[in-house]
Point group: C2
Chain length 165, copies 2
DNA sequence: AACGCTGGCTTGCATTTAGCAAGTAACAAG
DNA sequence: CTTGTTACTTGCTAAATGCAAGCCAGCGTT
């Protein structure tokens, strides 16, 4: 799913950054990993302009990280932007950014830090491979995030859509 | 080291992305982690415009990820941009981008993939915490990268400068 | 068939940013 | 004093960002 401009970059970091080294793209991928799929939901959650959101979603679909999928809603057809495997595989990047952000930056108001929950044992854990509590590998489907500034409830990560792009 | 615009963002990912969700910034951090320190070296390695490089280096210094340090070179005073602890702590983000980029994007010409070497045992390993070969935790000072499109030689990661910003 | 509503954009515009290429200032050597 | 180097700055053009209004397709209702 490489776009033409990636193909000339030998470095995988360079190619990845060419696709997603842009703040709105990364924020869209964060929210998509947490289950956001609809245009108006991204717009509301991110406070992003319509034209920028439309542009970024199109790029993410073209790059294969999201898939634009029609669905029926109360009789009418709507569109949603579903996470693909490539989009889901961004989770380690999001984990790493969360750890860095938590260590090196401060929110103005301590609403409480973001926490990652291993749902199988219920423990808070460092994002990454192995649960700090029980030592098990934390699988995506057992991981939830608590963002206390939004809600005290853990949000499970979204599963990717199966896709052949 | 939070800039004013970060302080209003409760999410650590949002704050991190506010500082570095931009391709040139990420690429500068990649090269700084591999030991690049001088303005003309960044310019040559990245093919970046002077004004953009100057701007990004200033922002990274302001955000505390790099430190601008004078040094003597053949009698004259020059400046270098040294990695700080905060900049060094970007390594997991770079690792995650490398893994993603390697899995989901293709170079035009197979020059060979980027490889991470655990120098204590000499093995190639997956970037991350534990060596695939010997099972030891891969410490920064024992990690080197091979980027075959540049050179067959492993490049050790740069150690951060001690700094109190 | 006509109309209204909604969703998912597009458009026009002003502002900002990106990037090229030339130029500048400070500092050193000759 | 002149020259060269380093680390930028500047002027300019093109592209991107983002606001706010508007458009179009698809649907349901009348």
């Amino acid at each position: 799913m490489t776009t033409a401009s990636q193909a000339s970059v030998p470095c995988p970091i360079g190619r990845a950054v060419g696709l997603m080294g842009e703040r709105w793209t990364l924020l869209i991928l964060r929210n998509a990993n947490l289950g956001t799929t609809r245009f108006d939901a991204f717009r509301a959650e991110l406070g992003i302009a319509d034209n920028i959101l439309s542009n970024r979603l199109a790029r993410l679909v073209e790059a294969g990280l999201l898939a634009r999928v029609p669905y029926r809603d109360g009789g009418r057809t709507r569109q949603e932007y579903r996470l693909t495997t490539a989009g889901a595989d961004m989770l380690p990047v999001l984990h790493a950014l969360a750890v860095w952000g938590d260590k090196h930056t401060e929110p103005a108001e301590p609403a409480g830090s973001m926490r990652v929950i291993h749902q199988r044992c219920g423990q808070v854990t460092t994002p990454g491979k192995v649960c700090d509590g029980c030592g098990e590998i934390v699988r995506r489907e057992d991981e939830a995030w608590v963002r206390p500034w939004l809600s005290p409830d853990p949000i499970s990560l979204a599963g990717p859509i199966d896709t052949d792009t």
